[in-house]
Symmetry: D2
Subunit: 228 residues, 4 copies
């Protein structure tokens, strides 16, 4: 699946509001908003809901994490083959709530390329972003962990983190897509992230826990449309 940018990537985390039936509803809202506004929206549901959601919606579906190893004797872990068969086109990796060893990220990214799964590797600092860039994932999401879930957007609170990330990443890797994460809630936040030079946002609570989730999403895509 080819992905158009900018992208809004919604991490469902282990939120109650995005679990089971409620996760499917949210994915359908995302699909509807995408169809109405033609701005790419992708969702990263919990493993348990991934296959159902991937079957029911026509927007990109990501896993939240995946292991490097091949299918086999591994209990309670999910392989690249499993998420692919379930309909995912990509996966988050190294989220601040699920940090990984550097050699494991390398392993997963290499194997993901072989099975055609898009990798979005999270990073907490400009230096880690550059390190991740050297591993050649498809996308990097820079997320200062102290801002995650705060509603304080990194694009406003620490724009220098974004610009420094872009600077360091581009020395290492010209192609990797850079997303802005952490604290993104409003259309202004998204526009600020794009204006700083990133190609999308990774967010979670700002949409998942919004009172009106459709409206929250529409605010984001309208701001993007307005910017074009």
């Amino acid at each position: 699946m080819k992905i158009d940018f900018p992208i809004i990537l919604i991490n469902f985390k282990a939120y109650y509001e995005a679990m089971g039936r409620r996760g499917l509803e949210l994915a359908k809202i995302a699909e509807k908003v995408y169809k109405d506004y033609n701005v790419t929206i992708a969702v990263a549901p919990q493993y348990i809901d991934l296959s159902l959601i991937a079957n029911e919606v026509e927007i990109p579906v990501f896993a939240q994490h995946v292991e490097a190893f091949d299918p086999g004797s591994h209990t309670g872990f999910i392989t690249l083959e499993a998420i692919k068969e379930a309909g995912a086109i990509g996966t988050l990796l190294n989220h601040s709530e699920h940090r990984l060893r550097i050699d494991i990220i390398d392993d997963i990214v290499k194997k993901a390329k072989k099975v055609n799964i898009t990798t979005v590797v999270c990073a907490n600092t400009p230096e880690v972003s550059a390190a991740v860039a050297a591993l050649n994932p498809d996308m990097i999401a820079i997320e200062p962990p102290e801002l995650i879930g705060t509603g304080i957007p990194v694009s406003k609170a620490k724009p220098e983190v974004i610009t420094r990330t872009i600077e360091l990443v581009r020395k290492v890797n010209q192609k990797v897509v850079i997303l802005t994460g952490a604290g993104i809630t409003t259309g202004d936040d998204v526009v600020a992230a794009l204006n700083l030079g990133t190609q999308g946002v990774l967010l979670a609570s700002g949409v998942v826990k919004a009172k009106d989730r459709r409206k929250a999403l529409e605010n984001l895509v309208k701001a993007i449309r307005g910017r074009k």
Copy 2:
């Protein structure tokens, strides 16, 4: 869901043969054999297939692992609430391929009781089995890791491990159900496990990777029926 013993609990692991459509097929075979022979068969599919399988079959469905924490900001992890909403009635824990900290097992077992999820905690030695018993899970599966996946049944190769486990566990906990794991493939293995005093078996490759999975399962339940 009340579980009748003896039980045959099939761990699908991350096996290719038990992933996606093939996992659903296997679950349906298990259901059919259960209906034909009235011996309890439970399945522990991969997270990704759990919800679909739980919806499609009327036998007990277990997760392969679960976290202690509540729904919330956790990326790439699955909660007790999520597996319950997906239709699981229980979960494996501390499998040799997914060992856990002692305090975490305590946390999960306590929380599982509150949300009415049955816990099957694996243990590698009689002493660890007794330790697990002190945490009051619903079941313990004793599995010497050196025999897992070998086809050499612990009930034959090391029967003293089973009898010693029963002895130590019963000093600590009169109620917990004890299962035999590791190397179980044939009806003889199952009968040996029951004759040693355990109330069922936990197995994986013996059924999942069998050429004729229905026949493999039927051999197990026939041996149990023959024994009664």
Copy 3:
């Protein structure tokens, strides 16, 4: 080395105040107070100071942690053989700041017996204490983690945790020594811990970070002497 009870076991942690020369000073104070009052005091210095301290003082010296594996190809880890050769007579295990897998605790305790190293396994709840007891360590230290470092002694704030621990542990293991940890600072705290039926205390900041460390230790041992 035979240990007389009650025991005061001081965990030096990675505190600046107990590092290097300052750790040696503290160990010498502990030795002096032991000689003056004849109440057992043991110290658990950082690895880096363990050998020097064990050579310089005649009180029991513990490691803060140790691995299960034999000497060999392991980088940045410390074996039982290494702490023994350095002069330690025992080791802490599973501290709330260094939790371990249940099978690993079993491995280390079994191996420690063979090489004659005394094991003190920490536990956060009465149930985990009983589980640990089933693994047959020499001592268990019950430490509700929410009280560690607070100066609020578990023996006063949650005496029922101690009595429940003793009750559950004794069902499983008659011999294991039980220590009280978490929040112990004053002589009263120690006496309360002993009166509840435990045979000593595990503490850290209450002594290590005291303005007058000799006085802090003397207060503890005087209270024990006064109680006899």
Copy 4:
């Protein structure tokens, strides 16, 4: 301490042959060979022997691992402050036997700079080497894990791994020193490593487990001297 290159860095691991008194002997041999041949030799003893060795020899002493956090409430872990106070001038990090999360490597490298500790970060592939280079450590040691401890030198068995590592690392970082690890035993191996463009070697069993350790080390430095 200024380090001259090329360097031979000996990882003592948790080897029995390099523990306690035997570790000190090995460090003294290294010092003597250094003085006789004027080729830089550094040692990375076990934590437990670090302070004694650093006091007794006048060659660079490294830790085998260290944590990112400040001195404080951490049980069984060693801080940068502790190894510095003990006399270490640097530390290994991310050895194949002690892999680290990417964000943790970033944390430790940044903090090590502040306290003036030299960092040698191990890497298993050219890509991971480049990623590590983006974190700006002082040195990188490229060690294909399948060759560690084999006596098959990477510089001969997989020279393309070294040349590719240099190529990728230099795109990211012009300054970082690159060492060759894995399978280095003979003087030829060292010369091959230097001829490929790296500035030294990281080895362990080749020296630690040699029958005649002085001779083993002399063979390495003579080869370097002969090359100059």
